[in-house]
């Protein structure tokens, strides 16, 4: 009886290529580690050096929070506008980049390459361009943040779109919906939670990416980070880190509560 059962069991598909893949991956990683001379033992040996710096951060210089509050408000303001613009711009981009939305091969690939290039532009270069065009001002900062945001939101969202359940899409196809309706009814509800959290995440990054704002002279807390660092006042740095953390968590909390109440 046993043999008979085994006779009928379909042939198990070979996993060789998968194992080969794993081995190659491991070799690549290992070789890279050797190439950059990553020796775990060094960390064990010198790990305590870290605490020199950490101990210099304590106690945080709370008074710095007061000093930096206007800059923090500026940062929030610019991050808000930059994220908003980026969000709006990223919407068409993300649908163009997702392989399961428009089945026009060249358009999808071209959009993806475009998005890739956009995301490769370093902050410094963005700053150089926008400062030259719009001046060393908050506007340049906002525009730079928008471009930066498009890269993040569009990329994460189109990946989310590619992973959605296609059942609802099928039903929209079956009722004869056109592309926009198909997206609005089949895709949007499914990616909405993702999208919202990516937007919030980008907002958070934009608050932290204050450095970009500093580069275009738009002020913000980036300036204060640099100042505290370059005068080696690590207690001020810690105060700023904690301040940013609180602001970010607060914003998260507020938006969570609004979403819960409204949706």
């Amino acid at each position: 009886m046993e043999t008979k059962l085994n006779d009928r069991v379909p042939i198990k598909p070979s996993r060789h290529s998968f194992y080969l893949f794993l081995v190659i991956l491991f070799i690549i990683v290992f070789a890279s580690a050797i190439y950059i001379e990553a020796d775990p033992y060094v960390i064990v040996q010198n790990g305590s050096n870290m605490f020199d710096l950490i101990s210099r951060m304590f106690p945080p210089d709370w008074s710095y929070i007061v000093t930096t509050t206007p800059a923090m408000l500026d940062t929030i303001r610019m991050a808000l506008l930059g994220t908003t613009m980026g969000t709006i711009l990223s919407i068409p981009v993300m649908f163009l980049c997702a392989r399961n939305m428009f089945h026009v091969r060249w358009l999808v690939e071209a959009s993806r390459i475009g998005l890739n290039v956009l995301r490769t532009i370093p902050d410094l270069l963005l700053a150089a361009i926008f400062a030259a065009i719009l001046g060393y001002s908050s506007l340049a900062g906002i525009v730079a943040l928008s471009v930066f945001s498009v890269g993040i939101i569009a990329k994460l969202s189109f990946e989310a779109i590619e992973n959605i359940d296609d059942g609802p899409l099928e039903s929209m196809t079956a009722v004869g919906a056109n592309k926009l309706q198909w997206i609005a009814f089949g895709v949007v509800p499914q990616i909405m939670p993702h999208f919202v959290s990516y937007v919030l995440y980008t907002f958070e990054i934009n608050i932290r990416a204050a450095a970009i704002l500093g580069l275009v002279g738009a002020g913000g807390i980036g300036l204060f980070y640099n100042r505290a660092l370059s005068s080696f006042n690590y207690d001020q740095v810690l105060a700023l880190i904690l301040y940013t953390l609180v602001v970010v968590i607060l914003i998260d909390l507020i938006s969570l509560k609004t979403r819960e109440k409204l949706l």
């Binding site: 009886m1 008979k4 059962l5 059942g167 609802p168 099928e170 039903s171 929209m172 196809t173 079956a174 009722v175 004869g176 919906a177 056109n178 926009l180 309706q181 609005a184 009814f185 089949g186 509800p189 499914q190 909405m192 939670p193």
Partner: protein, 257 residues
């Protein structure tokens, strides 16, 4: 009228879903498709409104080939074909009402639908459809919070709200209790006879098939093994549709148990 000419479907993994099917279904017919699980019933239905592209052959809806249609033409053809899915295909995160209203999109301006500005008449229609399947009170509930049968009823309501000229129903009553089943089948029969809507339905219940259908098509391994009026589908015929595998299966069962 639905015509299938030499239709075959081979899935990318090599499984043969449909094997050279030739069929003509006239307007106003009530056709039941029966067959073992895995016989290709869903594949056949999904081929008819081109949710899957067939590998070979041609399918004509009202003398226009849906196989070669595209763009607006294809959309308009599909608008007139309602579909009830075996696995419901609801947007779980949306409310019941929005799921039903999504059946109306092709009847409205894109702009209105995007901003959820459906005309009152459509909203009424959607609510009526929900009432027909007895879940009006769940209109504003999230679809994920429904019981299995309730979800199935939402997907039926969506197809009803579509006011299509043709309905393809994939086991629409699988998760329903007898009372609701009867009601749904009566409803389908009513729109079939009163509005001359063609109904093609996959059914597992021989009784229901006999009771409601005017014509029964038997599938086995992707091939049509019976096609005739309901009266001619005797117990013998069903035995034939299900029969051969039945014996095999029983054999298998014995062997293992």
């Amino acid at each position: 009228m639905i015509e299938l000419k030499n239709v075959s479907k081979v899935y990318p993994n090599g499984v043969i879903g449909l094997d050279n099917i030739n069929l003509t279904i006239e307007k106003g017919e009530f056709v039941a498709i029966v067959g073992l699980s895995g016989a290709g019933k869903s594949t056949l239905l999904r081929a008819m409104n081109r949710l899957i592209d067939i590998s070979d052959g041609d399918i004509m809806i009202n003398r226009r080939s849906i196989t070669s249609a595209s763009g607006k033409e294809l959309r308009m053809m599909r608008r007139d074909i309602g579909m009830i899915f075996q696995n419901f295909n609801l947007v779980k995160r949306s409310t019941v009402l929005r799921n039903v209203l999504s059946g109306r999109v092709a009847h409205n301006h894109t702009f209105r639908t995007l901003f959820n500005l459906f005309p009152q008449k459509d909203v009424d229609l959607a609510l009526q459809s929900l009432e027909r399947v007895n879940i009006l009170e769940k209109a504003y509930t999230r679809s994920s919070q429904l019981s299995g049968g309730q979800q199935q009823r939402v997907s039926i309501a969506r197809a009803l709200a579509q006011e299509a000229k043709m309905i393809l129903a994939d086991e629409p009553t699988a998760s329903l209790d007898p009372v609701t089943t009867k009601q749904v089948m009566d409803d389908l029969k009513k729109i079939n006879t009163e509005d001359q809507v063609t109904v093609v339905i996959n059914l597992h219940f021989v009784d229901l098939a006999r009771e409601y259908a005017t014509r029964i098509i038997g599938l086995r391994d992707g091939k049509v093994v019976f096609d005739g009026p309901a009266q001619r589908a005797t117990d013998e015929v069903f035995k034939d549709i299900y029969g051969r595998p039945l014996k095999e299966d029983e054999l298998l069962g014995k062997e293992v148990g």
